[in-house]
Structures are given as structure tokens and as C-alpha cells.
Symmetry: C2
Subunit: 329 residues, 2 copies
Amino acid sequence: MSRLLDPIGVELGRVEEALAEQVRKFAPGVTDYVGYVLGGTGKRLRPALALLAAGVTGRIDENHITLAVVVELIHVATLVHDDVLDEAELRRGLPTSNSRWGNEVSVLLGDCLFAHSLRLASAFPTTTVCQRISEASNTVCSGEILQNRKRFDLNLELEQYLEIIGMKTGSLFAVSCELGAVLNAAPPRVVKSLQGFGSNLGIAYQMCDDCVDIFGQEHQEGKSLGTDVKKGKLTLPYLLLLQHTDAGSRRRLGETIFRDEPNVRSELLDMVMGNGVMTESLLAIDKYIARAEANLAGLPSSVYSKTLRDLLAFVAGKSRFLLKEKVAA
Amino acid sequence: MSRLLDPIGVELGRVEEALAEQVRKFAPGVTDYVGYVLGGTGKRLRPALALLAAGVTGRIDENHITLAVVVELIHVATLVHDDVLDEAELRRGLPTSNSRWGNEVSVLLGDCLFAHSLRLASAFPTTTVCQRISEASNTVCSGEILQNRKRFDLNLELEQYLEIIGMKTGSLFAVSCELGAVLNAAPPRVVKSLQGFGSNLGIAYQMCDDCVDIFGQEHQEGKSLGTDVKKGKLTLPYLLLLQHTDAGSRRRLGETIFRDEPNVRSELLDMVMGNGVMTESLLAIDKYIARAEANLAGLPSSVYSKTLRDLLAFVAGKSRFLLKEKVAA
């Protein structure tokens, strides 16, 4: 994905420097933890969205670099907490904070990152950034709580799943785009389009990421996979598979899915491919890709809007690779 | 303590109503968790400080009620996370969030409360509230991280302990007082005095609370006790006891402390009382009480400043009850 973001390579470099500078601003004794979780090889996707939305609506200035840092700090804070909850051991190819220092440090570290992000957000002359960032953060965590409530629920519907991922992923993507435009005083119509784009891209991206958790290879992805089903979280292909299974057999299928053993995984894959679930999953993702494309329709053409389209194409391509290639195999 | 806060009883009632109103503002599916942790019988000490600082510096208006809600939400968020980390089962006489719904919901719930607090803070026309609240939150969590790093460290010094509790408790007490005054546009000297008062009271309060964890009775306090030593956290009396023990015997004493068995607890108590540690602990607490009193010296006399003094007297009295009564027994 990195080549894809070349048009904002310089600005992403400044975001990286600004992130590294934040480390020193934490209390001594906390800085080394912060340095570790902010380092690594994150995709910086939310910062990229903030910068691209800025590019689409005008200049990319220091305010946007700060905004990019703010959204990435929130994202990293949620990742640190997620890894505690998922008992994940790998993140971006490195041991997670919880596997290195335990859950206590990780919960508190996530809190510190979150607080620091809001501290940065409060340095803008307007309270809008604080307001929207805190709202989005609340939505992200509320989405995760809802997901938690629906664990092991074999009757989870596609609509509910979409609502959950819209909250837990779409909202931070959306606010990154939105505020990138707001800081350029873009007209409300443009702000709304970019916000919608972020939300739809986020939902498509999360569906794709959920498919990675099922069909991906750990060595390629650099993170623990299979954590969703282990935790009882039903995501796109399994969700659809269960919906196509009559109520009588659903319980047994659910047990097989949650057991997540390597030898049954290929059996499940056969089932997923056997009844059109793969195609249906792709259609669900494509629907959000199309919506995001529509959000871009009214915006002026530039290298930045082109890059937003390239991001969409990347997610669409990855989903196809994960799902369709399996069907073809 | 409740009678003591009678002078702001009406305003604390409005804070309670405002807290109850917040519940509806969370996402459906999250509200019942929020209602549970915001209900109960919290002392609302930080709200009281915000209101009293307002009273000392002028009117207590709607802004102060909101500020009181903001600081209480931050406090409850940290309690929810603390209870996860301490594996505590009781809080204010009721099962903790983690014992009812598990760690996952509790970590995310704490995050939601924190985010919502910052959302409320961003509704003030000035960014100062967001800024100082996020800074204080960061300090609270950083203090807890430092405490975590010093677990089972038998050479922890009193100064380090004081720094940690100044961060984890003093900072939110301080910012509650500070912003109560700031919202009344009080002069910087007055703001600083009240901030100092909050910090010193907070440190004294935490030392007292740490003594409760060692010497208190669960049925009286309505919360799990003995969690500090179980988690390797050395607090006031044990810290001083270890400092009076020669390096050779310190390891064995440490093991006894951390084992925290009922039958060795009375033996430890004898040791604590035998060499002046109780008196020394009281002196440490009294030092911060005296500092807090000095902070109040330049402020105008009113029912509000009297109540701040009453709070100090309450903490001093409780410490004496816990420590001196044991010596006398």
C-alpha cells in the first residue's frame, strides 16, 4: 500500500516525525512504552485520510499534520486495548504491548495515548476537533462493546454486523476525512461527502480485514489471525454461511466455527465456497466501495482525490484476492 | 462525609441529576453498563471540589455542574479500569463492572466514559477545560504506570511513592479545584492556591486510602481491600516499615507482606506499631494536610472555604482513627 500513498509521502514523513516527537511529551517511565507502540510499521491509514482530505479541499498545513497525529494516537490507543482484549501476541510483526508488559501496563498505556491525543486536539483554536474526536472515540469503543454483546450469537444479522463495524472502524475513518476538510474551512457539502467517503471506506476495509482474519496468512499479515472466532466474533463470510444454514444445523456449525481448528478450517472453507457465500461477501464489500466512490463524485479532480480512489481500488483488490482466488483455487 | 458537604447539597443533587442524564447519551447497548457504574453511592469528592472552588471564587453555575460531571466521569473511567487491573470484586458495596461483565466490556466501558467526558469538556467555549482535563487524565494513568513499574520493588522510596500518588490522585483533585476557579475567571494567584490545595488534599487522601487498604474493614468500606499488596504495590506504612528494616531482612519481610495472609497480618501490624512507623505515617499525612491548609490561607472566608477545611479535617481524622487507634489498642 505504501507506493499508493506516494503523493503524500513528504507529509506522511512529517507525521512520522511528529509522532516520534510526541514520545518525549509523556512522563518519564512511560516514554519507552509509548515509543514502542508508536514505532513499528503501521500503515498510518487514518493520518493518510486526514492529509488526503486536506489535499482535496486545499492546502496540507501544520494543522493537518497535528490532526493526523491525533487520529493515529486514538487508533493506536484502541489497538493497544484491542490486543489486551483479544489476547493477541503479534501486531505489525512485533510482540504486542500486552505480550511484552502485561495487561495492566497496556490498559493504562492505551489510556495515556488517548488522553494525549485529546490534549493535542485541544491545542486547536476551535473546540470542534476535541468534540468530534472524542465523539468518534466513544463511537469506536461503543461499537466494540456491541460486538462483545453479540459474541457467540448465531443469529447476528448482516445489518447489525454492518452497524458494528461502521461504529468501530467507519467512525474514525470518517472523522479523519471530515476534520481534514473542516480545517480547510471546506463547505459543509464537501465535508459531508468526505465524511461519508471515510465511513464507507472504513466499513469496506473492516470487512476485508475480517476476511483476512479468516483466510489470511500470519506471516504475510504480521499479526495474530483467527482471533475473531476464538473470541466468538462472527464476521462476514461465517455470518453469511450461518444465515444460509437452517436453524436446526446452525448450532453445530457455530460450534465448528468457534472451535477454529486447522483441520476443520478447510472443511469450513469448502462450505463457504459451496453456497455462494464468497460471492455474497464480495458483493457486500463492493456495495460500500461503490458508495464511497459516489461520495467522491462531486469533488474536484486532483492527485489527492485520485489517491482516495486508489485506496478504494486497493481494498476492492485485496478482497477479491482473498475471496475470489479461494473460489478459483 | 455526606453531612460535611451539606453546604453544596443542592448543587451536588444537580450533579447527580446531570450524571443520570448522561446515561441516555451513550449508544444503545452501552447505556445499561454506564447507568450501573455511574449509579451507586460514590462520594463525588472531585465534583464537590469543583463546586467548592467555584463557591470560593464566586457563583456556582451550570458550567460548574458540567465541570463536576466531567471530572466524575474521568474518575469513574479510571475506577472501572483500576478494578480490571486489581481484579477487584466489590466497589461501593456492589459487584464491580469486571466481576459482572468481564474485562472486555470493562476496558471498553472505561474508554467510552473517558471519551464522553472529553466530549462534554469540549462543549465549553474555551479549549482550556479539554486541555487541562486531558493533561490530568494522562497524569493519572502515567502515575499508575509508574506504580506498576515499582511493584514488588522493596527499595521504593517515600519520595517516589509521593510522586506516584501525586500523579494518580493529586492531579485530578487539583484540576477539579483549578477549573472550578478558572470558570469563575479567578485571578491566577487564587487559581494556583486552589490547585495546590487540591493536589495536597489528594495526596493526603490517597495516603489515608492506602492505609484503609491495609487496616480497614471490607464491610465498613464497601470495597475489596488488601488489593495493593496482592498486586505488589507498596504503600505508606509497609513502605516505611521496609525502610526501617536492614537490607538483609528486607527480602523476607517483603515476602511476608506480599503473601498477605490473615494470620501474618496481625504479626505485621505488631511490627508496624513496634518501631514508630504508625507515627511516621501520620506525620507524612499531616505534612500534606498542613500544606493544603496553607494553600487556603490567602482565600476569603466563606461557607465554601470552611467546607474545604472540613474536608481536610475529615481526612486527618480518618487517618488518626486508622493509625493512632491501632497504636492505642
